[in-house]
Symmetry: C2
Subunit: 498 residues, 2 copies
């Protein structure tokens, strides 16, 4: 992986010993909303595009997406899902076929109305999601129970004209995702898949991004437009706002009835099919950045880091012979570490100190320093990005140490984030307690009667939204937290949200 060099103006900044242009000038803890865009821009993950809300994903972020894509794609295929591609443009009449669905999406749709100087007879939507265009074909392909299950996925971009104040990755008008759309003969099979796919998603968050998640069911108010139910992963961001990580939806027979997707069962009886849809987006990159980053910039979990190790040689202009030996050792080490994504920073125009800052900003998990004294002792210094801890390692042991340390960094990031999440979930016994928890940037866990009414009350009086109803429920006793007098049925999470 080749990394773009720093633009000249930044190098000039270095020469005058002024780190501010390269470094992050906002503190994450106190000014998250300034810290976040600085990090993703200065670490060269994104660039703002000419259309508000439509950002450019630069190679340093795109390669993170490629790692996650590859993991998800492999898991989907293992479970029997096939990839396909459906058109970008959806006729308005098709989008309007399922009533709940179109209500949910129509305010957000970007419309194509003309080509060249010719008006289209009917407006065409840029896909906000592909249920309608896919199911229009599904009805042609499905005749018999033998044609089921039909499980297709596509990797593409979608456009939703929402968010007054877009935030790269987290709230964008165009984003990349995969959308799975599956059809089953029975409700049971469909339900089972909504959990299986959610587990794959949870692995991507927890094992790759090192981001712990809350698994559960969305309330009816918060579920996907047109779904019977939605399962979700929820994450608490460092600024005390929760964000939906991804979702799987049981669509039931809502779409199969609207699109006439039927099959003959084994007895030759016509049945409406059962359907799911599920998606995972580039929002996940932004969540990972927000969870792990610090005041020096990105902190990337090794499993998704485009560069896992950077080697920085410490050279002195008055020691050309030693420099050559250091570089030789560094180059050998790079070759030796070939199973790892490693970069050797040989740039002559920058000082070691500049390079340390640069690669810290980029969040590279490990830095190997090799200077004249290291060379003498046949040692190197390895520095962890997550803790800043330095250790010395004999040259002969570098590979084994690096592999161990990468695993440690991955674990440490996850455990730290897990502790933050656990510490942030607070039980609340009343609406006022809930308000004080969410105002404090935490997640309120309450016992709830399952009524939309009490849920709506929370939103009105505190501004918090329900996240989800955890699959793992405690024993529920007593009445609804909200004072309605009804019996509590479920434990549910509320928090201020994105």
């Amino acid at each position: 992986m080749v990394v773009r060099k720093i633009p000249e103006e930044k190098a000039a900044g270095e020469k005058s010993n002024n780190k501010s242009e390269l470094g992050i000038t906002a503190r994450k803890e106190f000014d998250f909303s300034e810290w976040y865009p600085q990090v993703i821009q200065k670490a060269e993950m994104i660039e703002y595009g000419p259309v508000s809300g439509c950002m450019i994903i630069r190679p340093y972020a795109y390669s993170v997406w490629e790692v996650v894509q590859s993991f998800l794609d492999t898991q989907f295929k293992k479970s029997g899902v096939q990839n396909a591609y459906f058109p970008l443009l959806i006729p308005e009449s098709l989008l309007r076929k399922e009533q709940e669905h179109v209500k949910g999406f129509s305010p957000e749709v970007a419309w194509v109305t003309e080509h060249g100087d010719t008006k289209f007879e009917e407006r065409l939507a840029i896909r906000p999601t592909s249920e309608t265009i896919m199911y229009d074909s599904y009805k042609k392909w499905i005749r018999s129970y033998r044609d089921l299950p039909l499980r297709l996925n596509q990797w593409c971009s979608v456009v939703r004209w929402e968010f007054k104040h877009p935030v790269p990755f987290l709230r964008t008008r165009e984003f990349l995702w995969q959308e799975g759309h599956t059809v089953f003969a029975t409700k049971e099979e469909a339900m089972k898949e909504t959990f299986e796919i959610l587990d794959i998603y949870a692995r991507a968050y927890e094992e790759l991004y090192a981001v712990p998640v809350l698994k559960g069911r969305k309330t009816d108010t918060e579920k996907f437009a047109g779904a019977v139910y939605s399962n979700s992963l929820e994450i608490l961001m460092p600024n005390g706002r929760a964000i939906q990580g991804c979702t799987t939806h049981l669509l039931g027979q809502n779409f199969s009835k609207a699109f006439d997707i039927t099959f003959l069962d084994k007895e030759g009886k016509k049945q409406y099919a059962w359907q799911n849809s599920w998606g995972f987006t580039t929002r996940s990159i932004g969540i990972m950045v927000a969870i792990h980053g610090d005041d020096k910039g990105l902190v990337l979990p090794p499993r998704i880091a485009p560069i896992q190790v950077v080697i920085v040689p410490i050279l002195f202009s008055n020691k050309p012979t030693i420099n050559e030996k250091i570089l030789e050792l560094a180059r050998d080490m790079k070759k030796e570490l070939k199973t790892i994504r490693v970069e050797l920073d040989e740039r002559e125009e920058y000082s070691p100190g500049f390079k340390f800052n640069y690669w810290e900003l980029k969040g590279v998990p490990l830095r190997i320093e090799i200077g004249p004294k290291d060379l003498e002792k046949s040692h190197v210094v390895i520095v962890r990005r997550d803790t800043g801890v330095k250790e010395s390692a004999p040259v002969s042991e570098v590979t084994i140490r690096v592999i161990k340390l990468l695993a440690d960094v991955q674990d440490n990031l996850y455990n730290k984030a897990k502790k933050f999440l656990n510490d942030s979930i607070v039980k609340a016994g009343s609406l006022s307690e809930l308000k004080s928890v969410v105002d404090d940037g935490k997640i309120a866990s309450v016992h709830w009667c399952e009524s939309n009414e009490c849920e709506a009350k929370v939103k009105d009086e505190t501004g918090a939204k329900s996240l989800n109803i955890p699959f793992k429920q405690p024993d529920i006793k007593g009445n609804c937290f909200c004072g309605c007098g009804r019996k509590a049925e479920k434990m549910i999470y509320f928090a201020k949200s994105y």
Copy 2:
């Protein structure tokens, strides 16, 4: 890879011994324009979508694209290219920045004019290609010679509202592609890349698709809008029409001047950068289908075939014990062939004859038949899709025979196509000779004076277009074929074209 089962209505066709619904009813040689859409639809490669020209790529075709994508992506990355993602929507003002470019594309652009019920202040183009939106960022990222080369690629779809009569894969209004956009400090480096990438493209056509290509330079009339020159791969289709396989473009400084992409060279002098763009599309799938297919359906080269081998057990309803043994052997063989993409067709509701036709339609390179007599002799029958030749093989040798046969099929398809291409290139010494060659569905090779005038004359009088000027040139003697009296400078190809 799981294959969708045949819909009920086709099974019904089989029962009445009527093959016509499943089989291809048009002859490739006599009615290519009916044969081609039948093959790609019946083999489940595509489905027509609700918007004319925007087709659905089904798993059986998409998985071919995934093989080609994986090859190209690996080659690009080896050569130092990085992937990124730029927005789908381009403001009209940006699209208009390079004059030649916008002239070439504006009639084809699909425009987004509103979201929900709100009009946009400026129309947004759906990307017909991404030069303008990418270069708008490149100018921000490039400052010094140290920032070069910058070599980015993206995988996406593009929309061009062209073609009155769309043909799936070959002439579509939305298609999938990759577009590489690169920036260099010198013209020499940029030129070199246009050849290197073309070589990678040629390998995809020749080594994966088994489709031989003609490499050369487009004429000024036929080059990309905004380019200094375009290199292309050209292919002759079985219907006697040539088609452009893909292109690489030297953009020179046309865009860097329009977008102000400059850098400070080693002497600190400001220079305009040199740029290229290059793309490879899903059109290639259609070309491959057209070249190799026959009256029974698809014939897929093994390297891109989603299923390389299908095992068909020959079962008899009165021999349940033998059937079980045959199935056992078939299942073992499937496991044994695990490095190969193999499918075992265990469906009970179809006869062996039906299955033979089905998998021939799908173009699977090899079929293994196992019947009671084979079981007895511990042999199987292997049938090649390309030649229909059957051979018997001992069970113990199946893996080695299959690997050898797959390589033979791949070679044979290429050689057959190469012979067709070679036999179709005919020298012409005059305009009337050229006309008779192209009217005969062949490629005319002529010696040309390089004037636009003589090129235009061919188009006017014969309807043929120039394909390209081959990189490998013979000795050129005498005058231009066209009777203009000027000295001939180059050998060039003309043919009727898509």
